[in-house]
Symmetry: C2
Subunit: 214 residues, 2 copies
Amino acid sequence: MRIAILGTGDVGRALGKGLAGLGHEVKMGSRDPNNPKAKAWAAEAGPSVSVGDFANAARFAEMVVLATLWSGTENALRLAGQENLAGKVLIDATNPLTFTPGAPPALALGHTDSGGEQVQRWAPGALVVKAFNIVGNAHMVNPQFPGGPPDMFICGNDAGAKSAVTGILTGFGWNSIDIGSIEGSRLLEPLCILWVGYGMRTNSWNHAFKLLRK
Amino acid sequence: MRIAILGTGDVGRALGKGLAGLGHEVKMGSRDPNNPKAKAWAAEAGPSVSVGDFANAARFAEMVVLATLWSGTENALRLAGQENLAGKVLIDATNPLTFTPGAPPALALGHTDSGGEQVQRWAPGALVVKAFNIVGNAHMVNPQFPGGPPDMFICGNDAGAKSAVTGILTGFGWNSIDIGSIEGSRLLEPLCILWVGYGMRTNSWNHAFKLLRK
């Protein structure tokens, strides 16, 4: 499949490399098609990987991964172009984080709204699936934990889109749990803060959630 | 230790029985000291268990467990009496749930506030620790899951109080993870909704969270 990664940060690079490893063609999009970070990453990631601007990447893709900082998310989607996102699965790996000096990251919105819902409003034609937001980028692909595999909770309004994302999660070694519509982001984004808070309290970033079942 | 249970529902009865099983003296408090449900439960639960009104129970106790429906929580704390709660560990096992016919339970507040913080404001002298709110009452005591024990996330403003609650959780067979101040309830109450939602989607209520770590 042809997959676009919107964003050149740690999350985008980790997911892009993982998706290329699954045999997908990956194009990393950024504001500047000559973004040196993206080019260096692509040179290392192999021949199935390329770079472009947000619109190039989205136009190229059958599936799009949103991996931007929250502050740049609306603009990235605008630059990607509604016409290039319409009808496509859009994996929302973002969290609506605000950063205040001296304080832990916090959510910009919640309870009656969420980042996932906001992304769906910004890209109304896309089939948004929230995924990958509850774990750090180091464990997004091939997560190895005693007692694993961990569980990735996902949500979105389109069953087919969630099925496609589950396929990718399975390929990466995750168990996937569908929690319902994109409104479920109201539950998954606080889980990101729980994940981050545990890391800050323990100075350890090697953890992931699992729902024990019997 | 002498422990009061405020509330006669499933959660209060499960925790009361479990605490009596650990060797504690338990008094179950309700609005009506002759509450037949409480009396029947106490008769079955053994000689270390008694019943009373909310104030009796709180006065008797060294530690208090709040296990009320959200709609009755403020009133239960008022009837228990500030003077009977002051300086005592108050385990907040509630969730600020609202019920709408035909819809899943939802949180009455969140994001910038939480039930745990509201309980702390209603009982300002108590040492509130949020615990037991992320699992169903059937699994609160001696949780048995493949890959377990599961993790109970707790939060509160007093380290000594959290240490006391961790002791009880350990006695019940839980691993306990302290996530910080009572403000952490903003993260744990959405986790209750995630737990409930999974149950509703799968029609199965035998699940609990674990944080895999390495």
